[in-house]
Amino acid sequence: MSYFGDIAKGIKTLLTGMSVTGKYFLTSRKGAITQQYPDNRETLKMFERFRGEVVMPHDESNEHRCTGCQKCELACPNGSIEIIWDRQIDAETGKKKKMIDQHIYHLGMCTMCGLCIEACPTDAIVWAQNFENSVYDRSYLTKVLNKPESKVKAGIED
């Protein structure tokens, strides 16, 4: 009897599959996942986990959280991150301290692997959801992440 049993089972599973796709077909009008991109440019919001580019957030008093530890530079598999730093005298303690001058990020070389963000101990760099990265010359893709005149937030190193 397993011959006819197989046939019955086959038909049943085929119908199950068809009911699944049928449900999708009926609800497709409401749940369409297509983004009609240039039309909805104003309202389009990328997903939280989308990896657009690496940015360094600054707060309102122009302070970032990067201590210049270079862990991101070491973590980067293809050298997309370069950190230019020097030792400066800290205003509070009067001691010499490592501070970043420029956090240089080559977006054109970045593979969006996210290892730098995982490596960062102070969460100084994060993913941005911006995806409109086309430029006319690749030199525009080399970015300095820390804003001019910015400094590290107090108490981050502790």
């Binding site: 046939i7 038909i11 085929l14 599959g17 068809m18 699944v20 796709t21 049928g22 999708y24 077909f25 497709s28 009008r29 749940g31 369409a32 996942i33 297509t34 009609q36």
Partner: protein, 354 residues
Amino acid sequence: MNITLSITKNIHNWLFSIMPEGVASITEMVLIAVVYLAIFAVAGLYLVLLERKVAAWFQLRIGPNRVGWWGLLQTMADALKLVSKELTGTVKADKFLYNLAPYFVIVSALMALAVFPFTQEFQAFDINIGILFLIAISSIGVIGILLGGWSSNNKFALIGAMRSGVQTISYELSVGLSLLTMILITGSLQLSEIVEVQKNGWLIVQGHIPAVIAFMIYMIAGTAETNRAPFDLVEAESELGAGFHTEYSGMKFAYFFLAEFINMFIIAAIATTVFFGAWLSPFGITESIPLLGVVWFLGKTLIIVFLMMWFRWTFPRLRIDQLLTLEWKYLLPLNLLNLVLMALIVWLNLTIQF
């Protein structure tokens, strides 16, 4: 030859009044052929659009919506693009067969359209062996596919074409036998008479259990005949590039593509004619207006076309051994059993008739 087109009776009389009989009937045939060609070239394009739209809805997408209102001119634009493209080919291709193959496919697809009864007396060619003609014609197309695959001098194309040969030879049996099951009720191969019989109830109702089984087998085998997913081993994109039409470009490729969709329409139209009463309306609600039969015919056909699209976007592709197992170990024995069952039912007068 029996060309019965009551709508064109005036043209018919006018042509016969100004020409000798032989010339007039040839002119008539050419006219009808041109009309059918024009209608079904456009209909084929819109079937492609329908397929793309339906596929999009199954996959939660939107589908073509840029060219024309709701993307209605998308396939027209595609066809224009394909016409303007260069016709390339491989260097060592067998040029004659290579160029011949697309015509085999498209001509055999269009020939089959001639016998469908779109509505009362709206049938280009009411041959008395209609169903046999349809089965015969629908299997000629595979010669085109084999020629195309062989003459392209390309491994992918050859593998695709050979698979197509295996598939069509196997599944033709099931198509033929499942239609034969229904012929037991009608007792005639002529399509207009098959429709006449169905005035007492559509054949799928008249034949009840064996008819439903025959319909299921017909749909499976018919989908395989048109080389559509889940039986699209012939052009399996992930394995063979584009299968037998890998080396074709421009309009020759478009012929293969169009033929595939017209074949789908034909399979659906045969199912409509044989199982669902062709142009007959349910319970004869619009019997007084024969012209509405076209709407019923196309409506039923499109529902079955939609069913085939539903198959395509639901089921994964079969392996070649699974394909042959399905045909030779399941469909064929079931079909033969079903044939005997149907014969018993017709013999014992157990058909349901209104």
